[in-house]
Symmetry: C2
Subunit: 451 residues, 2 copies
């Protein structure tokens, strides 16, 4: 008989709920699951909040999605094989979804495809304050607070899955003189509505996905001009009039920003689209993943199982940079679930072997060149997770969507969201957009599914 397990899942975002979903499918009577979620709803970032800084309980705001955000990857690359977009919306829809429509799809999977009501596993408005691994008893003590009542609790668990996301802790660089800038300075984490920058000259610091998208958003909603500033290399898109790229900021003097190439310009607002860092303040140091952002952080077997402290009973979800996102989380949730419940064929248990295998992936990750190699790498990682778990997102086929998406972006950064794809699972071709993304200011579900 299997020994009793008590599993703690921290966070009910897309990762935590994927783990919950699979525990529910396997429904093993020897396993008890509790999920702590600090807000009062699931799906994390996919909820819009008007707040910045701290939330209604004084906790750091989780939210990082802005009002007018549209998915920046084609839905065909993010689709659950057993719950397609056509299953959810009942008809063909365009490939790039506004935030509320994507949230609706994610929720549809959880509600319609779960065996039971998985909300019952979730303790809402509950923050994890601290967590230790107890060597003697080989378990974890998790200290939580009910944010509504202020009550604190210590609970012991045999396993912990950390699923708090990697978009909660802004990475904020310092530039000489930034404290003299009289305008508004925010991190993209606190970007809420592009119309706030209408008529302004905006500096966007950064050259990754969020810098690219926020620059476009600001232009779309009426900013006068946008200068983006890159550290290592420019994004090199064919930018529309109004957006230009410059090297890194050297210093700031009042409203004037000086760049490393000797040029300067005056701006009204600064948006630091400088990314996020791993941060797990609620854990002992030896349980914490510590790395710069990457597709394969070191120290994790199958990108999931923490190999240092915690006796192979501590797991991380979604800590890798993402192309496939939801299908990757789902494969990872199932793998972790099978690992914990001992239902994984050919389960490795030797720590040294695990380290060796993890090291191979880390090694390969370091050698990747360009987006296409990165996309294929993540597809292979998903395949590696899925082999033997019975899960079948066909990542090595879905990567073709991302290859095309990447070349669409290079061809035209303004129109790549207007392109069409064909679902791997339903075989249905995407509907064309009613309006090009750049001219479409209505992000509601109703306008999106109206055909």
């Amino acid at each position: 008989m299997a020994s009793k397990r008590k599993v703690c899942i921290i966070g009910a975002g897309p990762c935590g709920t994927s783990a919950l979903f699979h525990f529910d499918q396997i429904s093993d009577s020897a396993t008890e699951v509790i999920c702590y979620e600090k807000s009062d709803t699931w799906l994390g970032l996919w909820n819009f909040t008007w707040m910045t800084g701290t939330d209604e309980f004084g906790e750091p705001c989780h939210g990082g999605m802005y009002k007018h955000l549209w998915s920046n990857g084609p839905k065909e690359g993010l689709e659950y094989p057993y719950y397609t977009f056509t299953d959810h919306f009942g008809k063909a829809i365009p490939s790039f979804l506004p935030r509320p429509a994507m949230r609706d799809y994610l929720e549809g999977r959880l509600v319609k495809k779960s065996k039971s009501d998985i909300k019952r596993f979730i303790k809402w408005n509950t923050a994890v304050r601290y967590m230790r691994y107890n060597k003697k008893s080989d378990d974890f003590t998790v200290t939580t607070e009910n944010l509504k009542t202020g009550q604190t609790f210590d609970t012991n668990f045999t396993h912990v899955i950390v699923a708090v996301g990697i978009f909660n802790t802004p990475d904020k660089p310092y530039f000489e003189g930034i404290e003299t800038f009289p305008g508004r300075i925010i991190h993209s984490h606190d970007f809420r509505d592009a119309t706030q920058f209408k008529g302004q000259r905006v500096l966007v610091v950064g050259a990754k996905y969020s810098a690219e998208d926020i620059a476009l958003q600001c232009l779309k909603f009426g900013a006068t001009s946008i200068v983006t500033s890159y550290r290592s290399s420019p994004m090199n898109f064919k930018w529309p009039v109004g957006i230009e790229e410059r090297p890194l900021v050297k210093k700031i003097q009042g409203k004037v920003v000086h760049f490393l190439d000797g040029s300067s310009t005056e701006v009204d607002s600064i948006i630091l689209s400088t990314g996020y860092k791993y941060k797990f303040p609620f854990m002992e140091d030896n349980l914490r993943l510590s790395s710069s952002r990457t597709l394969y952080p070191a120290g994790l077997y199958k990108g999931s199982l923490w190999l240092q402290e915690g006796n192979k009973k501590l797991f991380y979800m979604g800590v890798q940079d993402q192309f496939f996102s939801f299908t990757m989380f789902d494969a990872q949730g199932l793998w972790i679930c099978r690992y914990i419940t001992d239902t994984l064929p050919n389960k490795l248990t030797n720590c040294e072997e695990m380290k060796k295998e993890a090291q191979k992936w880390v090694q390969r990750c370091r050698g990747l060149k360009g987006n296409n190699e990165q996309i294929d790498f993540q597809a292979d990682f998903i395949k590696d997770l899925s082999d033997g778990t019975g899960y079948s997102p066909d990542a090595p086929k879905a990567n073709k969507f991302f290859h095309k998406w990447d070349s669409d972006k290079k061809a035209n950064i303004v129109t790549y969201r207007d392109q069409q794809f064909t679902s791997l699972y339903s075989g249905i071709e995407t509907a064309p957009c009613t309006k090009p993304w750049f001219q479409n200011f209505d992000d509601s579900i109703s306008q999106f599914i109206k055909r």
Copy 2:
């Protein structure tokens, strides 16, 4: 021989440093003191930061002071008897100080009047993650993190002084439809530079000191119009043209704000000057002060010693609403220091008697009517703390400054900072202002002390 004591001070702001200052004066070899400060400098709020939301370590930003803030109370009511403003600046200066000048004075006291270098007690860039009281060993385990290295530590202490301030956790009300507002919404905690609102129509929600000051700041720096919105009663100042008061917000529809009196107006930005709440997320629930904001929170003997859990070895500083601020913190720091080091004459130890005495103050506090009664109440509280400690801020005389200040404000909210007072301790009359506050846009120390 006295038993060994190990004292933890959490926070090196104006409160924590006052406690440190007095431990240094008493320099008792049986007492070891460690102060944890999460930033890399002391004096908390009195440092300006360009950041909002989270800081460079991803910790919630402490800062709540804006670039152009001037003290809103006369310096004569805040003066240390043994280190006057004239001692510090070497000449008579005006009564209301810009932020950098006030910080300079506070630092001058710590550096020039301490017996030794008190910075050596402080562990910088160190956040307290959790804290428990251990009944068995009658001590506290404080878990900290060195934010620079990520290392976590458990340290045991006999006594803990919580001095994290009460302006770190914004109280954010919700108004129907606020999520539809397309403009910027911030709490006053994240207000940094009033010029960001130049040319805008601003809604300031609130009717206390920060609402009053932020409305004036916005007008001073060029906002087009400011509407303030009160919950219980209007501030009723003689506002200059451009500022008006309305009852509470009823709902928000896009840019249009509707008030309870049926009126509505369109605004570009919303500033929630709705105050702060007590928040001590790093402690077990039974150690936490929990109250609405007041001049005398229940559960604290002498407004300082926590009477529930912790066996009379846990102290709070500066958790009361403040008029006198620095002299009150100083009296409190000395009282706590004498209490811990057993150098307090007629020290009460019986918990029931303490509770009874605390209850009397809480009772009296509830009956207070108007600012003058509140000012006198706080003066009496400081006197009560000081009796027998050897400290002599003459609060019952200093209250006259606040009485006059209150009537100056009622007479003219724009000019009250241009008034002059005479120091209780140096006997020197304040210098007149070189420029009226409302026309003075230079907040530097150099212009301020230039005569």
